[in-house]
Symmetry: D2
Subunit: 286 residues, 4 copies
C-alpha cells in the first residue's frame, strides 16, 4: 500500500509545488490534488513531458498523484451539473497524462431532495462522470459517509452504508466505479474487519485514513477527526484487512477538524509520518 | 391509435382464446396478455407459425397482442428477482415471435423500503429486464401511479410524477424504455394536455384509458375507475394530445374496480366498444 | 420538415454571422454549424441570452442551428481521440444552450485498420461521445457513406449499408444515437423508398439532401454532387418517405463538389432555395 | 490458484457425477461444466440445497464448478441467438446457486462474415449475455484463439490478439467481462510473461493450461495440444506471471487433440495430476 496525503491535516501547505515537495520530504508516496491543479501544472511546465519531469524531480521519484476530487457538482440543478461536466474531460486528460487513475467524490447520508428522485438523478449524473473518466482510464471512487449527526442533518435519509454503496455502484453500471473507503466512515458505520475482507481489492479505488476520538460512536463528528493512532479506530485491523484482500493502492490521510491543527506544514507532515508508521507497524505491515 | 382491451373491465373472459375472439367480435385491435400465455399458445399450436395463424384467425385479422405484463418481481428480495428473471427471455421470445413489442410494469408511489436504496436497486433490476427485452425487440413501459391514497400507504414516498418517471427512464439508460401512460394517473397527478404534447411519441410505449368518478381528485381511488366517458377525466383532450404528438400505438382500456362490473363479457365488451367510440368521437378521431 | 443549409454548396459565406443572415434571407429554417462557432458566438455575445437574442435577430426568428459536426477525431490513435473528447462537452453545452439537439459524424466504407478491431474501438469511442452529448440532450447522428469508389479506397471494407449502420447503433447501445440520412448515400447504396418507410422517425437524427449526376450509380463520386433536382435521385420519393414516417427535423443541403460552385453566396443560396422548392413541390410537400 | 479439469484430456468420463468424483479423487479443486448439467443436477437433487450437499459430498469438500460454457450461439443468425439466449438466465441461476461465478466463450480468429459487421453484432450479443450473467453475479470470460492455421481458415481476419480482446472487453462495456486466458493461445500469439504481468488479476475470469509440441509456433495446431509439461510452452513463466499479479482463480486443463488420448479416465486424471504438479513445482508454486 502507498502512503498518501490530502491537504486535510497538514496545515496551509500552499500550491501543488510545495505540497509535493513536503510529501516527498516526509517519505509519502502520493498526494491528492485537484484536477485543475494538474491542468495548471502542465500549462506551467508547458507540456505533459515537462510536468512529468517536474513531478519526478519535486517528488523525488516517489510521489505520485493519488487521486483528484470530482469537480463536477452532481448534487444540485441540471445546469450546474452540465456546466461542471464541461470541464471534466480536460481534468481527466491531465490526470491521466500524469499517471493518476482515481477521481473521488462522496455522498452525504441525508438530503433535502426527495430521496428516490435524487438517487436516480445522481445515478445518471455519476454514470456520465464515470463514462468521461473511463475514457481516460480513470476510476471513480464513491465515498459513503458515516457520522451519525449527518444522517438527520437534512430532511430525508440517503445512501449511507457500505452495502448501499456497493448496490449503487451496480446501479451506475460502469466498469470503472468503486469505493473510496474511509476509516472514519467504516468506523462510524460500525463495520468490522470482516466487512473489508469480503470485498475484492478491485472494488476499492482509494482509501482514506484517520482516527476517531474516544466518544460514543454516535457522537463522533465528521470534522472531529484525529491523526491515525491517536484515537479508537482499529486501524491495524483496517490495514490488515485491506492488505489481506490485496489492496495495493493509496491510503491517504484526511484529518477533517473544526479548527486547523496547530503547527507548521513541516511539523504536521512529520507528525503524519509518525502516525502512519505507528499504525502500519501495528498492522504488521512495516 | 389502436383500441385495446386488458382483462380489467370485461368480466371473467377466460383464456387467451376467448379473450382474443371477444376483442375481435367487438372491433378491438389489441389485447394485453401475459407472456406465459403466449408461450402456452405457441406450445398448443405446436409452432410459432401455428400460433400466428391461430391469432390471425381468432382475431379476425385485426387483433394483435398489445403488451405483456412484466412477470419479473423486481420489488422484493434478490432471489425472487433472479428467479423471475430466469423466465423473462422465453416470454420475450414468444411475444416477439407473435409481433408484440411492449412489456409493461408499474411502480407504486410509496414503499416500505428506504426510498433511495429501493430506487437504485430497482434501477439496476429494471435495466436488466430492459436489456433482456431489448434483445427481442421489445420495449419496457413504466407506469407511474397517481392516486393520492397510495402515496402514503407505505412508509416512504417513491417515484410518482411524470417528470420523475422520465428521469428514471434516463437513469435506467436503455434505449428501449419508455412510459406506460395511463389516463387515470395523468388525471390524479393533475397533469394537463400541455404535459402530453411536450412528450415525443417514441417516449410512450403503451397507453391505458379509463375514467374517474366525480369526486375531489385526491379522493379518486386506484380501484375506483369508470369506463371511458362515464367520468370526469378530459379523455378527449388526452386522446387529442396523444394524436397530436403522433402516437400510433395501442390505447388499452383498464378498469380497476373494487367489485367486478356487472354483466357478461359480451355485454362488457360491447359497453367498452361504445365507451371507446364516445371518447374517440369527442376527440375528433372518429 | 425544416429546410436547412450546410456550408457545402453556398460558396464562401464567411462566419456564422453572415451564414445565418444568408439562410434567413433565403427562407431557410436551419444552418449546420461547428460547435466551436457556437462557443465563440456565446463568448462574443457575452452570454447565452445574448447569443440567443442575436440568433433570433440575425435569423429573422426562423433560423435555428440544425446540427453541429462531431469535432472529436474518433478514427485515429487514442491520444488524438482523448484530446478531442476533452472539448466535446463544452461544444455540447453551447449547442444545447442555443437549442441545437443534433451532432453528426460519418464513417467511410473502407479503412486501413483491421476492420474488426477498428469497429470495436470506434464503437467504444462513439459510445463515449454519445454519452457526453446525451448529458446535454443532444443526439448523435451516424452517416453511412455510399459512393462505390470509396469502398475500395482503403484496404478493408468497413460498415457501409443502412442495415449495418442500424446494427451499429444497436451495438453502441445509447438511447441518443441515430442516423444521419443522406440522399446521396441512400442512392449510391441503391436503396429505395421502401427502405425509408421501414424506419421510425425517431431513428433519424438529421437529413442531408443533394443530387447525383446521370452516370451509372457505381460511378457517382462522393464529391460529384448536384443541387437537389438537377440529377437523377428520386428526391420526391425520398422526401415523401421521410414525411410518411413522420420525420419533422431538418433536411440540410450538402453539395460536395470537386471545384467550388460558381456564383456568389447570394446567388447560390437563391439557387438552393429554388432547388428545395422544386423537390418539395415534386414530393407534394408544398 | 485452483487446479481444475475440463473434459478435454481425461477421456470419456461420463456425467457430471463421475466427473466430479474423478476430480476429487485426483486432488483437483474445480471442474468446468455445462450450465444445463447444473440445472439437471439441481433437478435430480430436487433443490439447490440438495445439489450443494451432493457437490460437497461427491467433490470431497474441495471440488467446485470452475466455469460453465456460454451455451448461447452468438456467431450465427439472430433467431439462433435469441433462441439460445432464452435459456441463459436459468443456467446462470443454477451456476450462481452452486457457487460458480464464471461463464466462458471463445472467438475464432477469422470469419466468413464481413469482419466489421460481425464485430458489432457480436459486441451487442455478448453484451446482452454479459448483462444476463451479471444479474446472477457471473462473469463472462472471452478467450482469444492463437493457432495460426485458424487465422486464414475463414475469409476475413477477426479479433485475435490479447490487445484486441482487451479492447473488445472495453467496447462491450460491462463490468463483468474479462479474459479466458489460455496458455496455448498465449504461446501461439507469441506473447511473453511481460504481457501477463501487465494485466490486473481482475481482468482474468478463467485460465486454461496445456502445452504445445516442439514444432515451429506457426505450425502448432489448435487440436494438437499436449499435457502441461510435455511440450515447449514456458508454463512455469505463465504460472509465475499469473501468481505475480495475484490471480487466485481456477487454472483448468484443456487438452484438445485430434484423437482421444489413450487410457482410462482414471489414468488420464492421474497423468493430469502429475502434469499439474510438475509445472506448478517448476513455477515455484508448490
Amino acid at each position: 500500500m502507498l502512503k498518501g496525503l490530502t491537504r486535510a491535516g497538514i496545515g496551509d501547505v500552499g500550491g501543488l509545488d510545495s505540497f509535493v515537495r513536503l510529501a516527498a520530504q516526509h517519505g509519502f508516496d502520493a498526494v491528492d490534488a485537484g484536477g485543475q491543479e494538474l491542468i495548471d501544472l502542465i500549462a506551467q511546465q508547458q507540456s505533459v513531458t515537462g510536468a512529468k519531469a517536474w513531478l519526478e524531480d519535486a517528488g523525488q521519484g516517489r510521489v505520485r498523484i493519488g487521486s483528484i476530487g470530482l469537480s463536477v457538482e452532481w448534487r444540485r440543478d441540471e445546469d450546474t451539473f452540465r456546466a461542471g461536466l464541461a470541464g471534466l474531460a480536460a481534468e481527466a486528460q491531465a490526470a491521466s497524462a500524469l499517471g493518476c487513475t482515481a477521481c473521488c467524490t462522496y455522498m452525504l447520508p441525508s438530503t433535502d431532495w426527495p430521496a428516490a428522485h435524487f438517487a436516480i438523478i445522481a445515478t445518471r449524473r455519476l454514470r456520465t462522470c464515470a463514462q468521461v473518466l473511463g475514457a481516460y482510464g480513470i476510476r471513480l471512487g464513491l465515498e459513503f459517509v458515516g457520522p451519525h449527526h449527518l444522517r438527520t442533518k437534512w430532511a430525508n435519509p440517503f445512501l449511507r452504508t457500505l452495502q448501499e454503496t456497493l448496490d449503487w455502484i451496480d446501479a451506475i453500471g460502469e466498469p470503472n466505479v468503486g469505493l473510496l473507503f474511509d476509516a472514519y466512515h467504516w468506523y462510524t458505520n460500525e463495520l468490522g474487519v470482516q466487512d473489508i475482507v469480503r470485498l475484492r481489492s478491485d472494488q476499492i479505488v482509494h482509501v482514506h485514513i484517520n482516527d476517531a476520538p474516544d466518544v460514543p460512536v454516535a457522537e463522533a463528528l465528521d470534522n472531529g477527526r484525529l491523526y491515525p493512532g491517536d484515537g479508537v479506530i482499529d486501524l491495524a485491523g483496517f490495514l490488515r484487512g485491506l492488505n489481506q484482500i490485496g489492496y495495493e493502492g493509496v491510503v491517504a490521510q484526511e484529518i477533517l477538524t473544526q479548527t486547523p491543527p496547530a503547527g507548521t506544514p513541516e511539523e504536521l507532515a512529520a507528525r503524519s509520518k509518525q502516525a502512519f508508521h505507528r499504525v502500519f507497524q501495528a498492522a504488521g505491515l512495516e
